[in-house]
């Protein structure tokens, strides 16, 4: 019966992955007033962080990367800002 057990084990696996993925996604979509709520928060954070940076450095919007990874329990928000050459040069000297 081992091959049958294997068949069921594999089927179990992909559906339980599906369930985990959905639970994480839906938890985020339901919290903070739906998905738009969460995305709005990320956008707000992005906007304000960029305003602070803009006070010190002129940044090109195309050189700013925003990444999110939603997990169960917590999410990662990653904002990469490419700082212009002149400034990093000035700081170094």
């Amino acid at each position: 019966m081992s091959f049958l057990a294997n068949i069921f084990a594999r089927r179990q696996q992909s559906s339980s992955v599906a369930k985990d993925r959905l639970q994480i996604l839906l938890a985020h979509e339901r919290s903070s007033g739906g998905e738009s709520g969460e995305s709005d928060l990320i956008r707000q954070l992005h906007k304000e962080i960029m305003e602070v940076i803009a006070r010190h450095v002129a940044v090109d919007q195309d050189k700013v990367q925003i990444k999110v990874d939603r997990g169960s329990g917590c999410s990662m928000l990653e904002i990469d800002v490419e700082v212009p050459q002149e400034l990093s040069g000035k700081r170094a000297s």
Partner: protein
């Protein structure tokens, strides 16, 4: 030279999103730069099928409205670096997609990618027409079943009249992708045959994708079937379809498992 390809059908649930992901990944796996664009505003699913749902920040509407740069909204696939996805908005109204905004984004995408593959929403209304408007090529996803074939015929009519190509007096290059094909039911003549569908729609056949549990398993784990189960029958059908899209001349075969029943069991077992 970059190509804009729309994956469309009229009828819902026939396999457009599955095919967008699988063809996009197959083309990207051959080394070409590919973006898959979700036009199903309000009901996005391409992100889930591609396994990118946790990483969506901005979407097509944000880019169209100028709230985000294209480069900020594109999500690069973690398994295949030549593959990117541009998600649809889950919450906004589809009227937020202006024709001019979409035109600008499509131009920008053409500059960055070899293939821009647009996953159309079901129906024949504005959303489906926006998805097809800029297309050079179309994959018409059809199930061997009467209502699907009828809707495909209507979509072919729209491709010939409501696209930029049509307005310029040119033709969108149309291809038929028959999906959820069940060889056993076809053999029992319970299903329209490939020949029947081709005779009725009279556009060239891009491939025949069998009904397969590998498709479901792949969407469970969030990977196009060509990445999750590259040797499976549906993946092989999609790989061949992708090669035909790239211009190779390959005979289309009806996908049947050539192994015996026990090989099949042991394949599962492995």
């Amino acid at each position: 030279m970059s190509k804009v390809l729309v994956v469309t059908s009229g009828k819902g649930g026939v396999g457009k999103t599955t095919s967008t992901a699988a063809l996009g990944a197959a083309l990207a796996q051959s080394g070409q730069n590919v973006v898959v664009v979700d036009f199903d505003v309000g009901l996005r699913n391409l992100d889930l099928v591609m396994g990118a749902e946790r990483r969506v920040v901005f979407d097509l509407i944000n880019v169209v409205q100028g709230d985000a740069r294209l480069s900020q909204a594109l999500i690069r696939d973690k398994r295949c670096e030549t593959l990117s996805i541009l998600p649809a908005s889950q919450t906004r109204d589809k009227d937020a997609l202006t024709s001019e905004g979409v035109a600008r984004v499509m131009d920008e995408l053409r500059e960055k990618f070899d293939w821009v593959i647009c996953d159309s929403p079901a129906g024949i209304e504005r959303g489906a027409q926006l998805a097809m408007y800029h297309a050079d090529m179309a994959v018409i996803v059809t199930n061997p079943e009467v209502s699907s074939v009828r809707d495909s015929d209507r979509i072919i009519g729209l491709l010939d009249s409501k696209t930029k190509k049509a307005e310029q007096g040119e033709k969108v290059d149309k291809h038929l992708l028959l999906t959820r094909y069940d060889p056993a039911r076809a053999a029992r003549k319970e299903m329209l045959s490939v020949e029947d569908v081709l005779e009725i729609l009279s556009i060239p056949l891009l491939g025949i994708v069998p009904e397969s549990e590998d498709v479901l398993k792949s969407s469970n784990v969030g990977a196009p079937v060509t990445l999750a189960a590259p040797t499976s029958l549906p993946a092989r059908a999609y790989f061949e379809a992708a090669r035909r899209l790239s211009g190779e001349k390959l005979e289309v075969s009806v996908p049947v498992e050539k192994r015996g029943f026990f090989d099949w069991l042991f394949k599962r077992d492995a």
